[in-house]
Symmetry: C2
Subunit: 437 residues, 2 copies
Amino acid sequence: MADKNFTPAELYDAWPVLSMEERVEGFEFLQREEADDFFLQLSARDRAQLVLALPPGERRLWIRLLAPDDAADLIQEAPADERENLLALLDDSTRREVKGLLDYAEDEAGGLMNTRYSRLRADMTVDEAIAYLRRDARQREKTVYYVYVVDAEEHLLGVVSFRDLIVAPGDNHVSDVMRMEVISAPDDLDQEALSQLFMRHHLLMMPIVDAQGRIKGVVNVNDIVQVVQEEATEDIQKIGGVATLEGPYLQIPLLLMIRKRAGWLAALFLGEMLTATAMGQFEAEIARAVVLALFVPLIISSGGNSGSQATTLVIRAMALGELRLRDWWRVIRRELVTGLGLGLILASIGLARILVWQGLFKAYGEHYFLVALTVALSLVGVVLWGSIAGSILPFILRALGFDPASASAPFVATLVDVTGLIIYFSIAAVVLRGTLL
Amino acid sequence: MADKNFTPAELYDAWPVLSMEERVEGFEFLQREEADDFFLQLSARDRAQLVLALPPGERRLWIRLLAPDDAADLIQEAPADERENLLALLDDSTRREVKGLLDYAEDEAGGLMNTRYSRLRADMTVDEAIAYLRRDARQREKTVYYVYVVDAEEHLLGVVSFRDLIVAPGDNHVSDVMRMEVISAPDDLDQEALSQLFMRHHLLMMPIVDAQGRIKGVVNVNDIVQVVQEEATEDIQKIGGVATLEGPYLQIPLLLMIRKRAGWLAALFLGEMLTATAMGQFEAEIARAVVLALFVPLIISSGGNSGSQATTLVIRAMALGELRLRDWWRVIRRELVTGLGLGLILASIGLARILVWQGLFKAYGEHYFLVALTVALSLVGVVLWGSIAGSILPFILRALGFDPASASAPFVATLVDVTGLIIYFSIAAVVLRGTLL
């Protein structure tokens, strides 16, 4: 397969669409140094799949190329029955560190941290510190930007950057140069909160401490970019009504793809069946005034669309930390006004449409004005209700301990479809009593 | 208002819900050093609003606290008629830099870059380089992690980190220590592509070069976190069918909120009116078989939901660079299988529901089996069509030069509602001919 001799960049681009065999072949073809760089560019999932596809004799080399946190991520992505074998490939000290990291949940600060970081004592001079770091840095694989100053029990006292040390006179003490207000995070902090801390303080690295204030490791901003990207993907998929996919679109096996989508789709379908029940209740009315049926899709979809808008805005604002549970009343007040405004706009368009069509085609019979009024009033009610339901549902889910992003656009639309029908036919019953009904 | 004496953290948390007056009051109350830190934590938009709300005499102080790229961002966020006044507050050299930055579009690499970075010549020794950087670093406000090696015309030759310099013997030359494969980006690169480069190579900083390979500035990973977050927010809002909001949910004035939502909602409403037209075409059929109307919401919403899923997955995969235009055929093939699978699942549920209800309540008349068959076949057709339409629409938008995220869930749902009705009533016409119709 001479035509499969990819350059590293070509291989990276083609990766998502290659079979596992083709990947191994392309990877084995790379020069050793190219292969190192290439391996480090892959995501943890891709690394795990690749390492497991390589002959057992070659695996050790690649897993040992990784820092402990990356090795832990790789092992977490591997099937449960392969994990022990992979751990056995590490040297003793790394294996201990990796095992420590595997105890943390994947989505908390401890699960993101790197346990290899540089530390100094406060009473060293700057020259001593630089000499120490020169020796120390040669042994570390990862680039280090900040150095943490700790006491004998590893309590965090301060932080200096390499730049601070270079700029400072050599006979100063580390304690003179270090900054003492260090922003640190507890090891069980949720990764979404951690990334908000990073963004707010424009940090490159943050020390992670245990309940006693002892430093356990550091998190790099590069991992945070990944977290922000992944959390957004999760939220987007939930908003679209799909269970979170654990991989790129083209790489998900078709059966898994169907399963990931069928769950929500079937749940929504069961919910939506209530519309058939609701319509059944009004079957006599529809039989008497078929014209009412014509506007059913228009009215319920308007409620669904305004609900989608509201829920999307609220879910995202919550994820960005702009909205908290206690803001629910402010949100309802805003959505009352917004929903009313939007409902009136759609009602005017709907009213105009029916009157114009009636003028042109005599489409809606002698009671066309009452029909138009029914549609317009229903639109106000349904859009208002959609906006309020869509905005409040994420709060309810969150208060109950669920992910607010589960208040997906299709979920809200389904909820509003059922109630929208009831609103519509109830208004019709009042407005059209004695004429069409 | 002694009770408004916020600590900086309290003020930061309360910021989104405070009036502009309260913000100024809270800000003026902070100690000078606290106020500096606080100001630097704010977003560019918040900084611009705050600076403009301060008395003119105090503005200079705050805008001069910022690096040129941050000052440029602040000015970009200010109303057009205030920009000249704000520029006038800067010193001459910063003003020239800021004006250069303002020439770049906000969403391209040049618009994100910082023009203050450290550079070295290749023929310096490491000791000379460190001595130079010690002087140089004292003058820079921003922390510097990488130093770029350039020739006399500012062409980029290589990169060294502070750490590389500290670790290297002092009499080596910079050219011995520097890495020559520098990943750089052209100044007109789109910020989404730029952030993918950062993530792929785990970078902290990237030099930005012009068409001649001369370095123009650097972009920091901190700005990339912001970009990733903002792009995700934009996509989420578009997927939800809202024009992008330029600020936190609670801060958008209500009239603007209504305008941002009314545009899409009205457009969708106009599209959805076609459902009334389509239903009108089948009015005679509905009058003859009212039972058909009962399932209209169920069928069209199933198409809309499967369309939402497909469009959301494809839009996100495109944003992450997992799908490109040329993948459209692979996607259609996948959605054909997935849509068919999902359609069959919903059809089975629907069929079972109608048969059970018929058994329990005799709800659907003597031709209940044909009705059930109509519903089941329509579900297969509509879900299949929803999956394909939802997945292909982002490709069409992108090929035409629009943002694929505009293929929002409500947009796809509306498209599928109209076509779904046609599918349903066409199938009904065939299956029920001679019995109900």
